[in-house]
Assembly symmetry: C2
Homo-oligomer: 272 residues x 2
């Protein structure tokens, strides 16, 4: 049974101890240059709230603050519903390593979603279908990139790929878990952090860089995610400002049915 | 002395009790329809970190989760530096009312900013100078709007103003504290929440709506904010998705010298 588990399920799995603390382990499958891929850390923090029996509704908002390096190995997460209202619930999560040192803090808002008037204010970036594009060769990139089938349209900038010639900070790609896995809030959360730091793209090179804080807004509920299945989703990321050692990133994640599933924002430390 | 204090300084003032808890009071000057203006709540939560003697550097990122209604009257804030690194510091803040009920949670990242390669990826929205535009009449709008000199370019949608005819979710205005006050992180934080909910603009009407979670990235350091003085800043807000009872908002705040001072994102509950 364990052998059939998807690597993403393994990497986000948690067991609750008798004190109510969630215990997990980083997984080599999602290793980054140092420690785990930030997207998988975000997903496991969200899972600490999702797994609670008294959790209300679907996630609407998730903020993860990467307070310190995460080392490969065991970690614990404390997750608390700090306030429950009629249709919303606010969560705080904290990830610890090494006897109580805080590695990551997070907050999430969950809500019972209801049909309302709806509108998408952005245009779907019309692109070639995922399967008409070549898969990026990630053989020289960190391990986690091999957990994804990434088909770059523009500006992916991972090792082994030619940099784009345009001096902008935009990346567009189709991305899918490899092996394919039906999209859910965990995989969508991880995908929201699957873009390389914008400084790599804008300056066409590698620089010391790391996400400091990451916020994701979920525009899909469980029902809409279930419709997506394991198909590729389209990711589009940009930056608005580089300066004083930090740059931002804003990204959109679209379903292949042209539904905006999530928008996600982060602030990234860099040295350049 | 107290009478000469700017209303924003009064509304964000905190006194630390012997347990290290910060004590404050909502102020009628920044009253909203119910309770205080969310921008002033964000600013006072940031201030609980800013006021600490061991606080490191300038704020880079701030997330505020509006967990429940805030009533007019006293509140307390607990603020903790959860992790201090060489050049960054992570804070968690919690606002309480009524004997320990959590009203608001927040997190912030502070950092020592250093000169690096820099670039602004957005174009400054070229507009008429603030003083060539008419000030919005906010006489029928909530009290906090009268603490600002707002000069709408497009889509402001406050009471007493004609709605725009374009069916989009964009607001642009020049905004300045009234009375004028040199820009700092507190006033910039408040201004980041000074846009009406995008559903008002997009549907050209009033609907039940409220910010649930608000994240601001600061692209300016103290030195750059000091250059701005008390001049108007330009605010530009949009939405990407309305649906299932929530919509997002992304906004830019620019100095009149065309510097991008902050980008800010929020997710908003609405009924429409």
């Amino acid at each position: 049974m364990t052998q059939q588990r998807h690597p993403l399920d393994l990497a986000t799995s948690l067991e609750q101890n008798s004190d109510g603390i969630w215990c997990g382990n980083t997984q080599p499958d999602y290793g980054n240059m140092v420690g785990p891929f930030g997207g998988i850390t975000s997903a496991v923090l969200l899972n600490a709230a999702l797994l609670n029996a008294d959790r209300l509704g679907d996630p609407v908002s998730l903020t993860v603050n990467f307070a310190g390096p995460i080392e490969d190995g065991p970690f614990t997460i404390s997750a608390q519903a700090v306030r429950t209202n009629r249709s919303t619930q606010h969560w705080s999560m904290t990830q610890f390593q090494h006897d109580g040192q805080i590695a990551t803090t997070a907050s999430a808002v969950f809500a019972i979603r209801r049909e309302t008037w709806q509108s998408t204010e952005l245009d779907f970036p019309v692109r070639q279908p995922a399967l008409s594009l070549a898969r990026a060769d990630t053989s020289n990139a960190p391990e986690w990139t091999r957990r994804y089938d990434m088909r770059p349209v523009k500006g992916l900038m991972i090792d082994g790929q030619q940099p784009t010639q345009e001096p902008d900070a935009i990346t567009e790609f189709w991305i899918q878990d490899d092996p394919p896995r039906p999209l859910d809030f965990l995989s969508l959360t991880a995908i929201c952090d699957s873009f390389v730091p914008r400084i790599f793209v804008r300056r066409m090179g590698r620089f010391p860089a790391g996400t400091i804080s990451l916020t994701t807004y979920f525009h899909a509920d469980t029902a809409l995610l279930n419709l997506q299945g394991g198909n590729h989703v389209l990711g589009l990321a940009r930056a608005s400002k580089f300066g004083l050692g930090y740059h931002d990133q804003s990204a959109e994640i679209w379903s292949d049915q042209q539904q905006l599933l999530a928008t996600t924002h982060q602030i990234v430390y860099y040295k350049a």
